[in-house]
Amino acid sequence: MLSYFLGNSELSRGGTRMEKSQIEFRNVSFRYHDDAPWVLKNVSFTIDADEWVAIIGHNGSGKSTIAKLMNGLLFPQEGEIYVSGQKVNPDTIWEIREQVGMVFQNPDNQFVGTTVRDDVAFGMENHGMSRELMVERISESLEAVGMEAYERQEPHRLSGGQKQRVAIASVLAVSPKYIILDEATAMLDPKGRKEIMQTIRDVQSKRNLALITITHDLQEVTQADRVIVMNQGKVWMQGSPREIFSRKEQLIEIGLDTPFVSKLADELLNAGLSLSREPLNHQELLEELWTLHSTK
C-alpha cells in the first residue's frame, strides 16, 4: 500500500515542495464574465487531509463552482486557492489534477473509454504511468469499488451506479489526496445511490484521503465530518452536521431541507420532550427516546 502512494509521488512531484495536506480557499471571488454577477464572493475555508466535508446549498449557490476551482478547471478573479501548499494556477494545474480527483454528475458524460478497463486507464495514461503500473492499479482500484468482474464491459451495458463506481475507480487509480464528488449521486436511483455511498465510505476508511461531497442528499450530509453551507455565493455556515441541522428554520429560509429525524426531533421538543442533543440518524433518536422512556 505504501509503495502505491510513494510510487506516484516520486513520479510527478519530486518531493521538493513543502507538504501541507490541505485545500485552502483565501478570499476567493469568481464570476464567469466581467459583467456577470459574482458566483462566489469572498469565500474562505480550509479542508484538511482525511476529512470528509459536505458542501450544500440550493441550485445556483456556487457550490459546483467551488469544485471546479479546486482543480483548476476555473480560476478565481480574486483571492487564492492552495492545494497541499501549492497555489492553483495554469502552471501547476497538471500536478494539482493528479492530487485532486473529480467525479461529476452525469455517469455517461465522464466515461471516456470504450470499456471499463480503458476508462480506468485514461487518467493514468494522461499522467504517463508505465503499463505495468496501470495493469496493477486497474485491478486494485476496480476491486476497491467492487467492479472487478466488469473489467471488459462496455459502458452502455452498465447501470448508472456502476458507471459512477467506475468513475470513482478511475480517480482512485491515479491515487489522489482529495476526491471531489460533484453531485455524483444526483442522477442515480436509490439503489445506485446506496452503492455509491457504500463505496465512498469503504474507500475513505481504507485510504488516506480527503473527501469533498457536493450534494443535495441529506443522508449524505449526515455522514460527513463537517458541512459547509453555501448561500448566494457566500459561506453561510460551517460546522458539524449536528450543528447545521439544529438550525432547521434558517436552513429552510435559504431553500434547504432537514432530514426526517431532525424534523421529528424538533416536533418532539415542541411536544415537551427534552432531548440531550440533535439526533442525526434513527439510531440516535431511538436511544434518546429509550432513555426518556426507561428513566420514567
Partner: protein
C-alpha cells in the same frame, strides 16, 4: 378515463438472441381520476408499461384499455393520435425534448400537432405557463437560455397544453434539488385535484408514493408484485424488503420504535407534528402505560 391492463406481456426483439421479456402477464386497473404510483427497480418493466399507456408500444400478448381506446396484441390501432392527445406523458428529464426557438412555440408544439386552433393555443400557453409557475416574460425567450429547473417547467407546460385527461409522469423530479422536487410534485398534485386528472406516477421515491398516491402498484421483474393503498402496501415491510425496496422513512422509524420500545404507533397519515405529540405522550407514559 378508466385504464385496464388485461394479461399484458411485452417481449423485446422476439425470436432474436436479444429476446427480453419486459412484462409478464400484467393485469390491473386504474380508476378514472385517481392518482396511482408505479414503483419498482430499474429494469422492473416500469418504463415499458408506461409506453403502453401512450401507444408507443403494442402489447405482445393481452390487451390494454384506455377509456374508449384499446391496444390489442396483433391489431393495429387506428386512433393512436387521439389516444396521444388524451394521454400526456412527462418523460424522464423532459427538458431534453425542447427544440423550438421560443418557450411559447415549444409549449404550442403539441397542440399544433393535434390540430388545435391558433386562438385556443394562445389560451392554453397562458394556462399551462401559469400552472407550472413560469413567469410570462420567459415565454418569448429561447428555452435553451433558461435554468434547468425552468426548462423542466417549459417541457411540462408543453404536455399540459395538450389538455390531456390522463397524465403519466416518469420520475418527474429526477435531478432536481429538494425544494424543486417538492414544488414540482405539489404542482402535479394540485393539477390532479383541480382538474380531476387521472395521474400515473412512475417513481423511485417511497416518500412521494406515500404522500401523493391513492393506489400503488409494485412491479418486480415484469410482474405485478403487490397492489393496494399506500398504507396497505407499506405495512408489508418484509415483502418490500424481499424485492429490495424501502418503506417510507416515517414508517420505517415507527417500526423501529415498536421493535425497540414496544410502543405501537401505527401510521395513518399523521403529520410529523401529530406523530411527535403521540410519541411524546407514549414515551412519557412510560412502562405503566402499556
Amino acid at each position: 378515463m378508466d385504464i385496464t391492463f388485461d394479461q399484458v406481456s411485452y417481449v423485446y426483439q422476439p425470436g432474436s438472441p436479444f429476446e427480453h421479456r419486459a412484462l409478464q402477464d400484467i393485469s390491473f386497473s386504474i380508476q378514472s381520476g385517481s392518482f396511482v404510483a408505479i414503483i419498482g427497480h430499474t429494469g422492473s418493466g416500469k418504463s415499458t408499461l408506461l409506453q403502453h399507456l401512450n401507444g408507443l408500444v403494442q402489447p405482445t400478448e393481452g390487451r390494454v384499455n384506455i377509456g374508449p381506446y384499446a391496444l390489442v396484441s396483433g391489431e393495429k390501432n387506428k386512433h393512436l393520435r387521439e389516444l396521444r392527445e388524451k394521454v400526456g406523458v412527462v418523460f424522464q428529464y423532459p427538458e431534453h425534448q425542447l427544440f423550438e426557438e421560443t418557450v411559447a412555440k415549444d409549449i404550442a408544439f403539441g397542440p399544433e400537432n393535434f390540430g388545435v386552433e391558433q386562438k385556443e393555443i394562445e389560451d392554453r400557453i397562458q394556462q399551462a405557463a401559469k400552472a407550472t409557475k413560469l413567469s410570462e416574460d420567459l415565454l418569448e425567450r429561447s428555452p435553451f437560455d433558461l435554468s434547468g429547473g425552468q426548462m423542466r417547467r417549459v417541457a411540462i407546460s408543453g404536455v399540459l397544453a395538450m389538455n390531456p385527461e390522463v397524465l403519466v409522469l416518469d420520475e418527474p423530479t429526477a435531478g432536481l434539488d429538494p425544494s424543486g422536487q417538492r414544488e414540482i410534485m405539489d404542482m402535479f398534485h394540485e393539477l390532479h385535484k383541480s382538474k380531476e386528472l387521472t395521474t400515473i406516477l412512475v417513481t423511485h421515491s417511497m416518500e412521494d408514493a406515500l404522500k401523493y398516491a391513492d393506489h400503488i402498484v409494485i412491479l418486480n421483474h415484469g410482474e405485478v408484485y403487490r397492489e393496494g393503498t399506500p398504507l396497505e402496501i407499506f405495512k408489508q415491510r418484509e415483502a418490500l424488503e424481499n424485492v429490495q425496496l424501502d418503506v417510507p422513512e416515517v414508517i420505517d422509524f415507527l417500526a423501529k420504535v415498536e421493535e425497540k420500545m414496544n410502543i405501537r404507533l401505527p401510521y395513518e397519515g399523521q403529520s410529523i407534528a401529530e406523530l411527535a405529540k403521540e410519541l411524546a405522550r407514549m414515551v412519557r407514559g412510560g412502562r405503566d402505560h402499556e
